[in-house]
Symmetry: C2
Subunit: 338 residues, 2 copies
Amino acid sequence: MEKKMGSKTYHLPSCPSVLSYGSAVGVKEGKGPLGGRFDQIFEDTLAGEKSWEKAESALQKAALNHALVKGNLSMGALDYLLAGDLLNQCISSGYTARDLALPFFGLYGACSTMAESLALGSMLLDGGFGHVAAAMTSSHFCSAERQYRSPLEYGSQRTPTAQWTATASGAVILGNDGPGPYVTHVTIGTIQDHSVKDANNMGAAMAPGAYDTLCAHFSDTGRTPEDYDLILTGDLGQLGHDLVLSLAERDGNTLDDRFQDCGVLLYDVEGQDVHCGGSGCGCSAAVLTGMVLDEMRAGTWKRVLFCGTGALHSPTSLGQGESIPGICHAVALSCQKE
Amino acid sequence: MEKKMGSKTYHLPSCPSVLSYGSAVGVKEGKGPLGGRFDQIFEDTLAGEKSWEKAESALQKAALNHALVKGNLSMGALDYLLAGDLLNQCISSGYTARDLALPFFGLYGACSTMAESLALGSMLLDGGFGHVAAAMTSSHFCSAERQYRSPLEYGSQRTPTAQWTATASGAVILGNDGPGPYVTHVTIGTIQDHSVKDANNMGAAMAPGAYDTLCAHFSDTGRTPEDYDLILTGDLGQLGHDLVLSLAERDGNTLDDRFQDCGVLLYDVEGQDVHCGGSGCGCSAAVLTGMVLDEMRAGTWKRVLFCGTGALHSPTSLGQGESIPGICHAVALSCQKE
């Protein structure tokens, strides 16, 4: 049976199920509008570790552990782990994988990693490779800030278009059989780069990639935005979200209130001084595992298109005059196998 | 049909085929014992680009282009690209994927990336996702040296256990149907970390991971080393290679001359002053695409176990007192579907 639909989308006939999921966030995220929904809020920025980088690994371990406990699963039930993060050489995920002693696929998709790991994990399970897989990612404001921007002690001002890297992790455990939600389709993104060079404007850099993947998904599947109760990008922030709306309007496509962005949902954008909203791999991971999957199981939303967006630049590439490549992978979640 | 064998190994019943492959290397690699085998040798360290990082992307594009031309394939035939590299945020692969405009899975497996991308690509194809996939990676001595160690201008001395990061890229195009060699099994590695903290001794850091994956592969499949004509790790270098031999001897296992390492094969270890041999994602990629696949097609070797080894640390993690996690993924290649 042909699984490929159109140019970039694959149908997963077995519809791998979300078995369980867990989330762990920092103080600021805990004070945001979704604060009551997370499995764990670390009051300590270091999460009891000696560095922010190690704290980020601690967030991952906490998120996965909550997922295992909530799903009544043991670590030994996992066939493999797919994970990645923003840090150089993806050390949050690498050291987590070491401590968990799981067969490990390391990924790098920047802030698209939650969607990338979900997509790959679902495809592998649908392909008959094992029975249970974990997809996970994280970010930490402090480790990201000093790696990508300035030492925190410097206290540099942030531009109006900047986003706030979430201190957060989310883990999803996927299985061949389960109560849902189910992964029914994935659309694998192609990088779009419209020459944005401002590392403080990720929304503008990633919006074309998000829109391209949305268009591909709808074209490949024959679906329309109305077929989804929620179309959730992460993390374009307010500006990137508005840009995608503009692109859709230009093309005569309708993306109404069902189109939301994890970067806008995670924080009180005005009240928490996060400028354009949240970002970081952990942002969409935490919104997915803290809110979306709960609401799907509660019946609020029947079908969700989860679209992870990532900016695949580095400080070195920008320093060499390069622009910011944006990518987006879409994962269609449904309360029914379809 | 159950594809999982034992703890970490998967049998791929459709046996995806290598359709084509290409390689591109730098001057030093061109002067090594395999120099005559590569598709392209860049005499210019910058490969006509303005930075070593961009040169590394140029190597990737050249390797993939050679693979396409040799296989009489067009870029449009590729359903997706799986790639990663050593640079922060994997920019060699990200910018390559941007310029190629292919659906893109970004990976991070350090020097295990050639094996990781081959494994994932083969699993996805075997799972029915598309028909043609590219697996690719690269490294560049100059971009790696200044990122991981010291500015090149500093001319720092190298320790006796150090390895030389290869300036090289290899690309493999996989397909559902083809002339072989075929990917019959993959073994997904679990990280092993025996507390090595010396970033100039990658062989010692990665040898336990390599040995663990070899043991898992043989245990899972019921095969023995004698079932392979070549067991090829990459890139343990001379010291890591000898350590794996010692571990095997300790356990009463026999790994004779059929056990080789890409880091030892790529250079004239004595004559080219590379100390313990080659390393970098591109090392095993170039040995695979420059020599191994050719020799398999020529009938020299019928079955090869290609074992990519990676060290998942970063300068930051070592600076924080962490040790070096080592991983190894094994890909069984055979001239017959089996």
